[in-house]
C-alpha cells in the first residue's frame, strides 16, 4: 500500500521531504519520510570486519573465513525499473548473510543475480561487478558459475525422478558419458548426510522424490544444491512454504552447513534472519540501507528506516 508512495519518495527525495514537511503526514508515512532516503553504512568493509569478530564471539563460531563473493556497485534493472541500486556487499566463507526487507525490495533479485539467474528473465540487465574468488562472474560460464554458486528455492521443487537421481542429476557433468552409479553413489550419500536426510531416505532411494513430505523435499533440494560442493549457497526464502517444525530443522541445517560454505539467505521473516544470520543486510526499494552483524541490525540499527523496519513500523 505504501510502496507507490515510497517509490515516489525515493525517486525524488528532496521534493517529497519538503512535501512531508509541508503537511502533517499520516503516522506511518511520517516515519518513512523522516528517514534519509539512502543510508549506507559509513564504511561497509570496515563494518564487515567488525561484524566478523562480534558475530563470532556471539555465536562461538570462530572467525569468518575469507571473502568468497564481492559485489561492487551492483545494479539490476528490469527494463527501466531499477530493482537493485548500487549495492556493494561481501559474502564470506563460514557465515550466513541474511537479506531482509519488505516484499519487492529487490532482495530476491539480488540473490538471483549472484548466480546470473536474472539473465533468464527477459528485459533484465545488470551493471556493476560481481567477483567470485576474485574472478568476475561474467568471465565464468553460467553452468560453471551455478555449480559453484548453487541455489535453493522458495517452493520445494524436486524433479520428477527418484530421490537418488535428484541428487545424482546435480552431480553428473555435462558430458556424454555418464559416470557410473558406483562413482556417484558415495557422493549422493554424502550430500544426503550433510542435508540431514540420509537416515530418512536411505531405504527408499529409488522412490519418487515427490512422495516425500514438504520439509523432506526441501532438504532434498538442499542436498541437491550442496552435492557439487559449491562455495556459495543461495537460499530464497527456503522455509516460507514449510511448517514450523520443518522450518526449525532447516534452520538448524543452515547452521551446520555454514562451516564450509558461504550462505546467503533471503527472508522476510525477521525472527528467522535473527536466528540464522551472522550478518544481516536490510534492503529497501532496491537500496541497501544497512549492512552489519545481526545484533547490530536488530538491537542498534544506525539507519532510521532499519530501526522502523525491525521494530515493525512498516513492512
Amino acid at each position: 500500500m505504501i510502496t507507490d508512495q515510497e517509490t515516489k519518495d525515493v525517486s525524488s527525495p528532496t521534493s517529497t521531504r519538503t512535501d512531508g514537511a509541508a503537511g502533517p503526514p499520516p503516522p506511518i508515512r511520517k516515519i518513512m519520510l523522516d528517514a534519509p532516503p539512502t543510508v549506507a553504512p559509513a564504511a561497509p568493509v570496515s563494518a564487515g570486519g567488525h561484524a566478523a569478530t562480534s558475530g563470532a564471539a556471539r555465536h562461538e563460531r570462530g572467525e569468518a573465513g575469507p571473502e568468497r563473493m564481492s559485489l561492487q556497485a551492483l545494479s539490476v534493472f528490469y527494463g527501466d525499473n531499477e530493482a537493485v541500486k548500487q549495492v556493494s556487499l561481501s559474502i564470506r566463507l563460514g557465515e550466513v548473510l541474511a537479506l531482509i526487507g519488505p516484499s519487492g525490495c529487490g532482495k530476491t533479485t539480488l540473490l538471483r543475480t549472484l548466480n546470473r539467474l536474472t539473465e533468464l528473465t527477459p528485459g533484465a540487465s545488470r551493471s556493476g561487478t560481481i567477483l567470485l574468488d576474485g574472478t568476475d562472474v561474467d568471465d565464468l560460464e553460467a553452468t560453471t558459475l551455478r555449480r559453484r554458486v548453487s541455489m535453493v528455492f522458495q517452493q520445494p521443487n524436486p524433479f520428477p525422478m527418484s530421490i537418488f537421481d535428484n541428487v545424482a542429476y546435480a552431480l553428473r557433468e555435462q558430458s556424454r558419458k555418464k559416470p557410473g552409479r558406483s562413482v556417484i553413489e558415495p557422493l549422493v550419500e554424502d550430500a544426503l548426510h550433510r542435508a540431514g536426510l540420509w537416515d530418512e531416505v536411505k531405504d527408499k532411494l529409488d522412490a519418487p522424490a515427490l512422495r516425500l513430505s514438504g520439509g523432506q523435499q526441501q532438504r532434498l533440494c538442499i542436498a541437491r544444491a550442496i552435492a557439487t560442493r559449491p562455495e556459495v549457497l543461495l537460499m530464497d526464502e527456503p522455509c516460507s512454504a514449510l511448517d514450523p517444525r520443518s522450518t526449525a530443522v532447516i534452520e538448524q541445517l543452515i547452521g551446520e552447513l555454514r562451516t564450509d560454505l558461504a550462505i546467503v539467505i533471503v527472508t522476510h521473516n525477521m525472527q528467522q534472519a535473527r536466528r540464522v544470520g551472522d550478518k544481516v543486510a536490510f534492503m529497501y526499494l532496491g537500496d541497501l540501507v544497512e549492512y552489519g552483524p545481526a545484533e547490530q541490525i536488530f538491537d542498534a540499527p544506525q539507519a532510521q528506516r532499519t530501526r522502523d523496519y525491525v521494530h515493525g513500523a512498516f513492512g
Binding site: 553452468t143 541455489m151 524433479f159 520428477p160 525422478m161 542429476y169 555435462q174 515427490l210 541437491r224 544444491a225
Partner: protein
C-alpha cells in the same frame, strides 16, 4: 426459526426463481440425455455385435465372395487398423513433442511461434477428406515413389500404409502437441530454474527434467491421437486403397507390407454397410463393435494414464499446486 437455522444449507427449489428452475432442469436433462445417447450407441452396437460376432471372424482373412458364408472375417482390417495407428502415432509423436518444446521453451521469434501454433490449428481443423485428397496429390509425385507402388513408366500409385500413415500423423499431431504444450506450461518456472541453478544447460533441463515431467501428458495425447486415427475413414478409403486384404508391394520383407495397401475396420464397415459394395450389414455390425471396443479401450487407457500421472507426476502434487 431455530429449526430452520439448524437445517443444512440445501435450499428447496420452492424458493428459486422460475428462470433458475428451468435452467437447472435443463442442465440435468442435458447430462442425462447424453448418458442415454451413449448408452444407446454402446447398447445397440453391443447387441448387434454380439449377435453377429463369431470368434472365427477375428482370425480369418476376408475375401470378396458374394456368398456371405464364404466371404471370411476381418483379420486383415484389424491388422490394418493396428498397423496404421502405429505408423501414424510413431510419426506424429516426436514431431508434436518437439514442436511443443520449441513453442514453450524457446518460442522466439514470437511471430514465428504464433505462426507455428496457427499452422497446427489449421491442420487440426482441416477435414480428413481434404487431408486425404491433398495427400494423394502429394504422394503421387515421383519424389515419393519409394513410398508406394510405382507402375512401369513411372506413374506412382500414391496409396500405401506409408502414405496413409503419414497423413494420419497429421490427425494425431495436434492432439499430442496440445497435450504436451499444456503439460509444459503447467510446470512452474522455478522447477526449470532449479535445474539451471544446478549448472545445467537448457537442453539437459528439457531432456532430464521437463520431458519426464510431461510424459503422462504425452501418453494422454498419443492415446487420444490413436483413437482419432483408428476412427478415421476418409484417409483409409483414399490413401490406403481400402483393399480387402493386406496387399504386399515390393520384395523386402516387412517393408513390403508398409509399401502395400490394405484396409482398416472403418473402411471395412463402410464397404460392408448397405452404402458400400459388400452389402453385408451383419459383418459391418460385428466389425463396428470390435472398432468401438478398440476405441473405448484406448479412451480408458487415456484415463488410466492421466490418473497415474496425477499420482507420480507433477500434477496434483505440492509442486503442481504451488504455482
Amino acid at each position: 426459526m431455530a429449526v430452520i437455522a439448524a437445517k443444512p444449507r440445501r435450499q428447496s427449489m420452492a424458493d428459486w426463481r422460475w428462470g433458475d428452475r428451468i435452467a437447472y432442469v435443463m442442465c440435468w436433462a442435458a447430462g442425462l440425455g447424453l448418458c442415454l445417447i451413449a448408452a444407446l450407441i454402446v447398447g445397440y452396437m453391443a447387441v448387434r455385435g454380439v449377435q453377429y460376432l463369431k470368434p472365427s471372424l477375428l482370425w480369418s482373412h476376408p475375401s470378396g465372395e458374394v456368398d456371405q458364408s464364404a466371404s471370411g472375417g476381418f483379420l486383415d482390417p484389424i491388422l490394418g487398423t493396428i498397423l496404421l495407428t502405429i505408423i501414424g502415432i510413431v510419426i506424429a509423436t516426436p514431431i508434436a513433442v518437439a514442436a511443443a518444446i520449441w513453442i514453450v521453451e524457446y518460442g522466439r521469434p514470437k511471430g514465428l511461434a504464433r505462426a507455428v501454433e496457427s499452422g497446427i490449428e489449421v491442420v487440426a481443423g482441416t477435414p480428413d477428406i481434404v487431408l486425404a485428397i491433398f495427400g494423394l496429390a502429394l504422394f503421387q509425385h515421383g519424389l515419393f515413389g519409394w513410398m508406394s507402388f510405382t507402375a512401369e513408366g513411372g506413374a506412382v500409385f500414391g496409396r500405401s500404409f506409408l502414405t496413409a500413415g503419414a497423413m494420419m500423423s497429421l490427425i494425431a499431431l495436434p492432439m499430442v502437441f496440445g497435450a504436451t504444450r499444456e503439460g509444459l506450461q503447467s510446470i512452474p518456472r522455478h522447477v526449470r530454474e532449479a535445474s539451471y541453478g544446478l549448472g545445467k544447460t537448457k537442453i539437459a533441463t528439457i531432456r532430464r527434467v521437463l520431458l519426464p515431467a510431461v510424459r503422462p501428458n504425452i501418453s494422454t495425447g498419443a492415446a487420444l491421437g490413436m483413437g482419432r486415427i483408428a476412427g478415421d475413414t476418409a484417409i483409409v478409403v483414399i490413401l490406403l486403397g481400402a483393399t480387402l486384404r493386406l496387399e504386399k508391394e515390393g520384395a523386402i520383407p516387412g517393408a513390403d507390407v508398409l509399401k502395400g495397401t490394405g484396409s482398416t475396420l472403418t473402411s471395412y464397415v463402410y464397404n460392408n454397410s448397405p452404402a458400400g459394395e459388400g452389402n453385408a450389414p451383419e459383418k459391418a455390425y460385428a466389425a463396428a463393435f470390435v472398432l468401438l471396443l478398440l476405441v473405448v479401450a484406448l479412451n480408458f487407457a487415456v484415463d488410466l494414464i492421466a490418473r497415474r500421472g496425477a499420482k507420480t507426476g507433477l500434477e496434483g502434487t505440492r509442486l503442481g499446486a504451488g504455482r
